[in-house]
Symmetry: C2
Subunit: 219 residues, 2 copies
């Protein structure tokens, strides 16, 4: 089950006009959900449907390009795992947690995940894989070096970085994403997010923090 990343650098081969069109599609997607029509996109973007079809092939192509376009915008700076003490590690974990909570609770992410979930059902294309690659798997890719660095410097104790990451993911996201996707009103204030991030980091350290006095004690 490897996720072949669908040729990212296509995000670069876009003219400004095309980016504007995709932005319009994205806004429409957030506002109207999956029932956005080609006509609506054309009207919103002040372009002709003929142009849409020439540029993106068909409706699925437009959808895929839109999702990839958003993904290319989210690309964040990699976090270096240097300067390793317990305080900076904790701060990094909290940062990752709050960033992730902010992402999954954003209107854009919710809309994109909804359309991707719907398309995964009528499995025609790989929208779900695109969202997954730029969401959960991108997060893992960025966080794992931090976890490994923490292990190297004796702050963390785990056997499998993937397993540790998934636990962290669960501690952070909990039921938030599925509830939001299912339409649950669940207002996450800044304070709530920050508090949850601190809690998730503490819990993660309670589970995987190396005991200072002794070696690993596994039951």
């Amino acid at each position: 089950m490897l996720h072949s990343v669908p040729d990212i650098e296509t995000a670069e081969a876009l003219t400004e006009r095309q980016k504007a069109v995709l932005d319009a599609a994205l806004r429409l997607l957030v506002e109207e959900g999956d029932q956005l029509t080609m006509t609506a996109v054309a009207r919103r973007a002040s372009c002709s449907k003929e142009t849409l079809y020439k540029w993106f092939g068909d409706r699925d192509g437009l959808l895929t390009a839109t999702v990839q376009w958003q993904a290319s915008k989210v690309r964040v700076a990699p976090v270096d795992g240097k300067g390793l003490d317990i305080a900076s590690l904790t701060a990094s974990l909290e940062r990752f947690a709050s960033d992730w909570l902010r992402v999954i609770s954003s209107d854009t992410s919710i809309a994109l995940n909804r359309v991707a979930v719907g398309h995964a059902g009528s499995g025609k294309d790989n929208l779900g894989a695109v969202v997954l690659d730029n969401g959960r798997f991108a997060l893992a890719k960025r966080l794992k070096p931090v976890l490994e660095a923490g292990r190297q410097s004796g702050l963390l104790d785990f056997a499998d970085a993937e397993m540790a990451f998934r636990t962290f993911f669960g501690l952070v996201a909990r039921d938030v994403q599925i509830r939001l996707l299912l339409g649950d009103r669940l207002e996450l204030t800044e304070a709530t997010i920050d508090g949850d991030a601190v809690r998730a980091a503490q819990q993660f350290l309670a589970l995987f923090g190396a005991k200072p006095g002794r070696e690993a004690s596994e039951s």
Copy 2:
């Protein structure tokens, strides 16, 4: 055009024939995703479309009735929190975890959640709320008494049962549900599920298990 919205507890007021029709719709939903058509349901159930419209009003009514019908089937026996020692508590937690993993990884749950997520996007009805009530919130309702009993008998230590439940939820589900909904092939074998359930229970006890020697020590 007066179709009284088929309110809840109508799950009982269904004839056998109607249940059979909803079962057919459910099977079709699992097989074909959200693009199930009224014609397909009628053909699969060997009934006429006129009957479908008479019984369920319109397509959304049929969808809602189908989701509620499945929900009414999932209703499980409540777990009594008696006989409280650390072994039985652990066993209960593991049981909840494995049951939940089995639910969210089932084809039926995935299909239902997909259609509910899609409908939450085009927010016309409350399919998402129905799924949420019979999924995540029903689980909380059943698990919380166990958690409270554990706290009463000094095995668990937490301030807020809701918070503890959400942590347990996160430790169990992690990234499984969103990955499955997004179409990730993620085969969960019996052994994997059982192992994950044991791990989740252990992690939960590590976070919320009362220290035997002393009182709560929070840093």
